[in-house]
Amino acid sequence: MTSADVMAAVRADRSAATEGDPGAFEAAVRPHYAPLIRRLVLVLGDPHDAEDIAQDAYLAAFRSWDRFDGVDVRAWLYTIGLRLAFNHKRGRKRWLAAIGRMESRTWADPPDPDLWAALATLDPRTRSALLLNVLDGYTHAEVAGMLAVPEGTVASWISRGRTALRKELDPGP
């Protein structure tokens, strides 16, 4: 089944999916589930949190399936997942502070430790904007829509993110 076929099925069967037949939803969204987890690992830094948030995002997407505009299912799922991740990050920070712990669990053995450490210096929103732009090719305007912030903010985040990564990865003489 091609992407076009899947999206045609999405448009045709969206209402049926929300009324008890999850077939169309799963056909369209399931292929993006593992990529969402990986993206959330990079954004949150914690593989366990990433899986939890991805699960919540998948269920939230299913509940709001009838409101999906049928255009870009990956962008739609990522939008839900990233917004949940930001809320989660805020809540977790408060919780860790409350119990006197500031450290979080992290990916134990990343294949590119320098890049992983450099990413960790960015805040999650900057990381998200940078990844959506550099990896996925979304425009500043599209990223702004996904993260619900002004376009200028996204441009600033991406610029600062690139500069920070360069500085971390190539500190110079």
């Binding site: 939803f25 987890i37 990986r38 990079l42 699960q55 550099v134 990564l165």
Partner: protein, 167 residues
Amino acid sequence: MTIDDDSDLAGRLAALEAQAPATAAPPTLPTRRRRGRFAISMAMAPVLVLVIVATAAAGAAVVANLAQGHPGIQNPGQPMAGVHMECMTPPDAAAALAVHGFKDVVWQIEGGDPNRKDSTTSTQRPTPPEHGFVIPGSLLDDGSVIMVVDQRIGATGVGDCFGSPMP
């Protein structure tokens, strides 16, 4: 290791993300059994209607019984209007009632500490107590009168004598 340009950065980010752990399967989606629930709802509809009707009827009967209000004996137009029994001692209030022909009086005496659990009391008797705030009560259908005397700790009195020392 350094990054030379955006394509290098994109390549390294893509490689990093591709190897991030993602082994969990998606959660099981909830399914809705619409027809079953709808069928049960339809079957229950007559029962629900009966319950609603019965509740409304019972409620109306209760409210009708409760709604038989009795006028306050000092209300405008009532025999003791303007007498201000709330500023009298209970014996003086009893005398004033007697002057107006009310000899069948029930004195309800509220006592105890309202700020402590289960420490308040409420008793009724045919004669007035010696002290306490008088709260002019109601004139019942049979011509008798209920008067309340508040002796509770912290009682304030009512009407024109609100806040004055307890008689």
